[in-house]
Symmetry: C2
Subunit: 292 residues, 2 copies
């Protein structure tokens, strides 16, 4: 599939009024009166790779197949869509089973681990860090005008965040245009869903920008690097290790993107400041806040 970059409309946008994604819950406020409010759903999704149960994720429940595929690719458990034979989602038991033509390296490793030290899930982390050391993200120019336009577009796009809150968003962008806007109760799920879409649609990562509402922790930086996206932007703060990994893989990392303000922690060489706000609109750096 060829992805249209015209920016007319994104390929996937939030559907804030989708009945399956929110529920009306009643509660009692400070003066004791009852209020009915719209709250986001959260449900378990168990992901299998062939016969191996990988994990149970808490998710809002949309795009389970993208979530499962994106997660497995981001963990390095899958490396190419050619490996994938079938992906089955069973709504009744909240399960996605990804079947490959031949059993994966991960399953071999896991079997070995199981013989030695029990479950090997934890060791995936080590394997992932080895992978990360091999990644060098390509150069792509990023204009500050795009970042300002993206913030504005994304923050005004109807979303579950705007209607119900308590949810994270991750948006795959090309220059100043949002292409795919995913939301989830876990920010890592939103990123995995974007990855699942990219893998399924064979979308190139090398000229894309990933925008997220969540903090830039090591997990977010690792996922973005595994996806091959050279630019990661967030309105939230970041951790020291997130910055360290970003510099290692040559990722352009931009945090605290609020209004006209931001700070670039890594890969500043990609950034062309074609729009520079005047001092009045951008005097002080906002605090390294958790999120919007």
């Amino acid at each position: 599939m060829s992805v249209n970059h015209s920016g007319k409309s994104p390929h996937i946008a939030p559907i804030p009024d989708a009945p399956s994604l929110t529920r009306v819950v009643d509660g009692f406020i400070q003066d004791g009166t009852q209020h009915h409010i719209n709250v986001v759903e959260e449900k378990p999704l168990t992901i299998y790779l062939n016969a191996t149960e990988i994990l149970t994720a808490m998710t809002i429940g949309d795009y389970p197949v993208y979530l499962a595929l994106g997660f497995l690719f981001n963990q390095g458990m899958l490396t190419s869509m050619d490996e994938v034979q079938t992906v089955d989602f069973d709504e009744d038991i909240d399960t996605v089973v990804v079947r490959t033509k031949v059993s994966t390296d991960y399953e071999h490793k896991l079997k070995k681990r199981i013989r030695t030290s029990g479950c090997g899930i934890g060791t995936v982390f080590g394997d992932q860090m080895e992978l990360i050391n091999t990644i060098q993200l390509p150069f792509v120019e990023v204009k500050s005008s795009w970042l300002y336009q993206l913030s504005k577009t994304i923050n005004t796009t109807p979303s579950l965040y705007l209607t119900a809150g308590a949810i994270h968003g991750t948006v795959l962008c090309y220059q100043s245009t949002p292409l795919v806007y995913m939301e989830d109760v876990g920010r890592h799920n939103a990123v995995d869903k974007v990855n699942g879409w990219m893998r399924s649609e064979s979308v190139s990562a090398k000229d894309k920008i990933l925008y997220t509402t969540g903090r830039l922790t090591s997990e977010m930086v690792i996922k973005t690097s595994m996806m091959g996206i050279p630019v990661l932007v967030s309105r939230s703060g970041f951790t020291a290790w997130g910055v360290e990994i970003a510099r290692k893989v040559n990722l352009t990392l931009i945090g605290r993107m609020r209004g006209k303000r931001y700070i670039c922690l890594s890969g500043n060489h990609r950034l062309t400041r074609d729009v520079i706000p005047d001092q009045k609109t951008a005097e002080v750096q906002p605090k390294n806040r958790l999120s919007q």
Copy 2:
């Protein structure tokens, strides 16, 4: 150990200037000038239960032993401190090994799972939901004046959040007094560290209040229930399933605690509104925001 409830000073409070918890990172802001900012650390901690590698958590790195113990108890992998023989933290390899006198039920289950469907980590979730169905939290009165006092005290306590941001806090409280204030890059870690402290110090949960800065997701409600704490308060929003589980276990769940405003989603019968703010100070409900 008997816990002093005098409220003179908490047993554990954040140490925002601890050199191991933050690092100065440089970045370039919107006008291209360089800034040096204080950023929280994040490092892996791998938790073993006897010979079984359980998981690698991303943590700020303080109180690794409390984190490991608290996590294992909250997962239902440990049920009593009497089981625990030794807990060893090896700083060089970021590993905590919790050894029990005899191998745990979890390890037996895991071995069985491994023979059938590979790694069993995902199935822990199922076991945990079974456990949750057996929990009914005890009655304890909660006064709205305590909640207002706690918010004020906690929000003005020197913390990594106030100095560096991008971090979550969880505070174990007795009436209007904070007892243990833990922070971590993952809000679940902060809760686990509180649990590890409670278990190590044999602190009773039945008359405590847990305050957190993070969203009230199913994970947070499940951990609080596993800890036996009957009241969970957050300045952030909540998910539908978080509310559902809270009602099932009879947990008093209070969200969006900002200034004089809050909403009680579950267990409103425990709440005595001895202080009711006037309409001016608490007119509108804040949105179900992600966090502060």
